[in-house]
Amino acid sequence: MREWLELWFPNVMVRLPEFYKAIRDTLTMFSVAGAFVFVLGLALGVLLTVTRRDGILRNAVIFQALDKAINVFRSIPFIILLTLLLPLTRFIVGTAIGVRGAIVPLVIGTVPFFSRQVEAALANIDGGVIEAAQSLGMSSLGIIFRVYLWEGIPMLARAATITAISLIGSTAMAGAVGAGGLGDFAIKYGHNRFMVDVTWVTVAALVLLVCAVQIVGSLIARATTH
C-alpha cells in the first residue's frame, strides 16, 4: 500500500505532515468562518424577511439599507474582496495572513450570499401560517423563532449546504493569497512546481469534503421534512 502510494503520489508522500496541516487549516477556516456566517447570515436573512413590505416588522429603512449593502458585497468578486479587506482584517485580528487572516474576508464574502439564501428559504413559508400565529397572539420574536426558523429548517438546511460548499471553494481561494490550507498547498507545489500529483490529491480531498457536507445537509433536510 505504502509503496503504491509513494509510486503514484511521491510529492505528497514526502510532505505528509504538511499535507495534514493543510487539511487541518482548511477545516479550521471552514468551521470558524462557517459558524460566523451561519449566525450572521441567519440574522440578516431573518431581518430582511421581517422588515420587507409584507413582513411582520415592516421597516423600509432597514430593509432598503440591508438589501443594497448585500447587493454591493455580492457583486464584488471574492478575490478582490480579499485584497480590499486587508486593512480591516489587520485591524480586527491583528494579521492579514494565515488562517486567522482568512477568516474575516471569508465571513464578509459569504454572509451576503447566505443571507439571500436564508431570505429565499423563509419566503417559502406560507404567509397564512404567519397570520395564524399572529391571530394566536404570538409576539414577533415568538413568530421568528417558533414559526419562521422552525418551519424553515428543511429549506434552511439546503441553503446552509449550498453556502457551505461555496465556502469551501472560497477557503481554497483564500489559500492563494497566503491563508494556508489545501488551496495554498496545491498552488505552492502543484501549480508553481508542477507536482501534478499534489494537485490531484488536493482536489480529491476537497471533493470528499464537499460530498460530506452535501450528505449531512441532505440528511438534515430529509429528516425534518414532514
Binding site: 406560507d126 397564512g128 401560517v129 397570520e131 395564524a132 400565529a133 399572529q134 391571530s135 394566536l136 397572539g137 404570538m138 409576539s139 415568538g142 417558533r146 414559526v147 422552525w150 418551519e151 429548517i153 428543511p154 425534518t224 414532514h226
Partner: protein, 347 residues
C-alpha cells in the same frame, strides 16, 4: 360581543386606491353565529381580518368583548387576540409540527405548566374528535381533519369569539357538514360567538342566525337568516338565494326559451316564495278552486332553516285576467313574495 363602527379599509396599489371595506357598521351579539356572505373580492376577508386587526382599518373602531381593540398598544393587542380565535380556508397549520404541537403552540410561554398544557391539548383534541392523532404531522391528515386541528388550535386559549374565513370552502360537501356541526357544537357547548365568512348560502342556512350580505365592500343588507330568505331586498341577496334553491332552475329555462316555460296567451309564470307560516297551507289548490285557475307547477322547493320551513313554487297560472289579478291580490294578502317571470296576458 363584536362591534364594528364605520370601518373603512383602503389599499393603495399600482393601479390606484382599492376601497376594500366601505363604512361597515355592525354588531355581533354574544353567543350568536353571525354570517357574512359576499362574492369573491367583495371584501369579506379584509373585513373579518379587521376584527382581530390582522388588517388595521384605515378608519373606524373595532370593539370586541367590551374592549376597543383599535385603541390598544401592541402588547395588549396580542393579549386580546388570544381571546379571538381564527380559522382559515387553507387551515394554515405548521407542517413541521405535530398535531399536538400545533394545538399547543399558542399555550407555550403562557405560564401554564407542561402537564396543564398536555391535559388541555388532549381535551381539545377529543372535543374535535381527533384523539389518537396527537403525534401525527398535518401532511398525514385529510382536509377535514386539518381543519379540526385548526379549530382546536384556535380554541386553545379559550377564546370568546371565533372568526372563520371560508373555513369550509376547501372541503367536500360531506366534510363541510361535519365542520359546520363542529362549529355549532362549540357555539352551544362552549358559548363561543362565531363569525362565519362564506360565499355559500348553504353554509349560512345551516348554522347562522343573522347574516350580512356584503357587496363592493359595503353591507348591502343585514337580517335574520329567516327574514332574509323570506324577504330578500337586494338583487345580490336574491342571486345568492337562488343558488341554493332548486327554484333557480326556472331562470335558465326562461333564458333558453324552453318549451316548458312557453306561455299560451293569457298565462303568467310566477315565482312565489313563502315565509314560515304560509308554507303548510295548501295555497295552490285553494287558489285553484277559489279563482277557477289552472295552475301548472314547474318547480317546488321546501327547506328547513333554523328549524322552520321555508319554500317556494314556480308555476304557470292559466285563467281569466280578472281571476289572475285576484289571485295575485290574494298572494299579496298572504305576505307571499311574488315575482312575475313571464307574462302573456297582454299578448
Amino acid at each position: 360581543m363584536i362591534r364594528l363602527e364605520h370601518i373603512n379599509k383602503t389599499f393603495s396599489d399600482k393601479s390606484g386606491l382599492i376601497h376594500a371595506v366601505r363604512d361597515v357598521t355592525l354588531r355581533v351579539r354574544p353567543g350568536e353565529i353571525y354570517g357574512i356572505i359576499g362574492h369573491s373580492g367583495a371584501g369579506k376577508s379584509t373585513l373579518v381580518r379587521c376584527v382581530n386587526l390582522l388588517e388595521r382599518p384605515t378608519s373606524g373602531q373595532v370593539w370586541v368583548d367590551g374592549v376597543e381593540l383599535t385603541a390598544l398598544r401592541a402588547g395588549e393587542l396580542r393579549k386580546a387576540r388570544k381571546k379571538i380565535g381564527m380559522i382559515f380556508q387553507q387551515f394554515n397549520l405548521m407542517a413541521g409540527r405535530t398535531v399536538f404541537q400545533n394545538v399547543a403552540i399558542g399555550l407555550q410561554y403562557s405560564g401554564l405548566s407542561r402537564a396543564h398544557i398536555r391535559e388541555r391539548v388532549e381535551r381539545l383534541l377529543s372535543f374535535v374528535e381527533l384523539e389518537g392523532k396527537a403525534n401525527v404531522y398535518p401532511s398525514q391528515l385529510s382536509g377535514g381533519q386539518k381543519q379540526r386541528v385548526a379549530v382546536a388550535r384556535a380554541l386553545a386559549n379559550e377564546p370568546r369569539v371565533l372568526l372563520c374565513d371560508e373555513a369550509t370552502s376547501a372541503l367536500d360537501p360531506q366534510t363541510t357538514q361535519s365542520i359546520l356541526s363542529l362549529l355549532q357544537k362549540l357555539n352551544r357547548e362552549l358559548n363561543i360567538t362565531i363569525v362565519v365568512i362564506t360565499h355559500e348560502m348553504s353554509v349560512i342556512k345551516k348554522i347562522c342566525q343573522r347574516v350580512a350580505v356584503i357587496e363592493h365592500g359595503a353591507i348591502a343588507e343585514e337580517n335574520e337568516v329567516l327574514g332574509l330568505f323570506a324577504n330578500p331586498r337586494q338583487q345580490v341577496t336574491k342571486d345568492f338565494l337562488y343558488t341554493t334553491s332548486s327554484l333557480s332552475g326556472v331562470y335558465p329555462l326562461v333564458r333558453e326559451d324552453s318549451p316548458v316555460v312557453r306561455l299560451k296567451p293569457g298565462e303568467v309564470l310566477l315565482l312565489m316564495r313563502y315565509g314560515t307560516t304560509q308554507v303548510c297551507q295548501p295555497l295552490v289548490s285553494r287558489m285553484s278552486k277559489q279563482f277557477d285557475l289552472e295552475i301548472n307547477i314547474l318547480f317546488g322547493d321546501l327547506e328547513i332553516i333554523e328549524g322552520a320551513p321555508m319554500g317556494g313554487t314556480a308555476a304557470i297560472f292559466h285563467g281569466t285576467p280578472e281571476n289572475i289579478k285576484s289571485a295575485l291580490k290574494f298572494l299579496e294578502a298572504e305576505h307571499i313574495t311574488v315575482e312575475v317571470i313571464r307574462d302573456a296576458r297582454m299578448a
